[in-house]
Symmetry: C2
Subunit: 224 residues, 2 copies
């Protein structure tokens, strides 16, 4: 582990109690800052708020939980703020991750721009299909599930990503837990019962669509 950035966090970071909702917005802010490029130097809370789709007060409040990054009367230095958010999110560290399930979604994540860019290093691809095992994707060997343990041990991976079919997700979570993984991101459309003290986060790609559906539906109903 690289401790230098951690020291930096605690030097100028309040960081005792960052609200969950704030943590969840930080990636959005980061993404907006990245979209501003390197030509400009400063950004105001107002402009950043417009980009992120929130209010300026929320931006300032959220950032105040992390530290004092702005300059009164001026705004925020884009490069500096970008770095600080990355440090707080732990993105200046390298996070080795393994992906289980090399279907379309697994492949999409394996070379997803947002991963490398944020310090997530895919160190292992695994699949249960013997036809896939031994082949390569994007220059990476696809391994059998038997090799989960050794690979995770060698690479020091702490995060596992499940992109298997729903039917295989629970067993995969168990296998990851057995192999020593402590945090799992589950993309399979099913709820997994946590094996042991593993932290499981679910990302359901159809959830957003269902939420969209609710509001479209509701709007249509209102019109009548």
């Amino acid at each position: 582990m690289d401790f230098a950035p951690i020291d930096r966090v605690y030097r100028d970071c309040v960081n005792e109690n960052v609200p969950n909702v704030t943590v969840q917005r930080l990636p959005v802010y980061l993404s907006c800052l990245e979209s501003l490029g390197t030509e400009r130097e400063r950004v105001s809370s107002e402009e950043l708020a417009t980009l992120a789709g929130v209010t300026p007060a929320k931006i300032r409040k959220d950032l105040s939980y992390l530290g004092t990054f702005g300059v009164r009367g001026v705004g925020y230095d884009i490069e500096h703020l970008r770095f600080q958010i990355r440090v707080v999110l732990g993105l200046e560290e390298e996070w080795p991750v393994v992906i289980v399930g090399v279907g379309n979604l697994g492949r999409a994540l394996a070379n997803y721009g947002g991963f490398q860019e944020h310090g997530f290093d895919v160190v292992g691809l695994f699949d249960a299909d013997p036809a896939k095992v031994g082949t390569e994707y994007d220059g990476m060997l696809i391994r059998s599930l038997d090799e989960l343990g050794p690979t995770i041990h060698e690479s020091g991976a702490t995060i596992g990503i499940i992109t298997t079919p729903a039917s295989a997700a629970q067993a995969t979570a168990q296998a990851l837990a057995d192999a020593g993984i402590k945090s799992i991101l589950n993309f399979a459309p099913v709820v997994i019962k946590p094996p042991g003290d593993v932290d499981i986060r679910r990302v359901d790609l159809s959830t957003e669509l269902q939420v969209l559906s609710f509001y479209l539906h509701r709007r249509g109903v209102d019109v009548e």
Copy 2:
């Protein structure tokens, strides 16, 4: 998870008194109910809460916003509750959607189980790459962007999904807006400026990973 700037987009659409956070949990409840299968008949708020990873009180409160679906002293009829949630979410309607960008992610969504199951019908695949246009995926013709307008008009699609590279996302959103789409789900890792009065919801696959990183990072710091 997302939990992003939904408040801004839909704040004034919620005329009924269903909290946004409740709407975002409904797909999770639905998924849990689906995982219970058809053999059992009833489920308690306590059991459903355990499956969904929330408290029983939250389940009951959330459901109370939608109606009175349970039976006191007994619990909820699984099949009935499942249907009611689907109705509230508008999933008993058919939602034609188009997908722009037939890379790994586009293909993953095109035959994603969670879509068909919830009434989302993929009626068009589009890609800017001339090499892909004219070929088929999963029995569907991949069309050129020129055909966006006609296809959307014929099919009555109201939802567009962007799975292009980040660099093409803004132009794609504009094209979808021009073609009459009013709701966009953006999977490209970039923030899109809404063209006109289009509602844009962003799904960043790396956001959850970044949130995970924050908590892992901080846990590591706390241990010292």
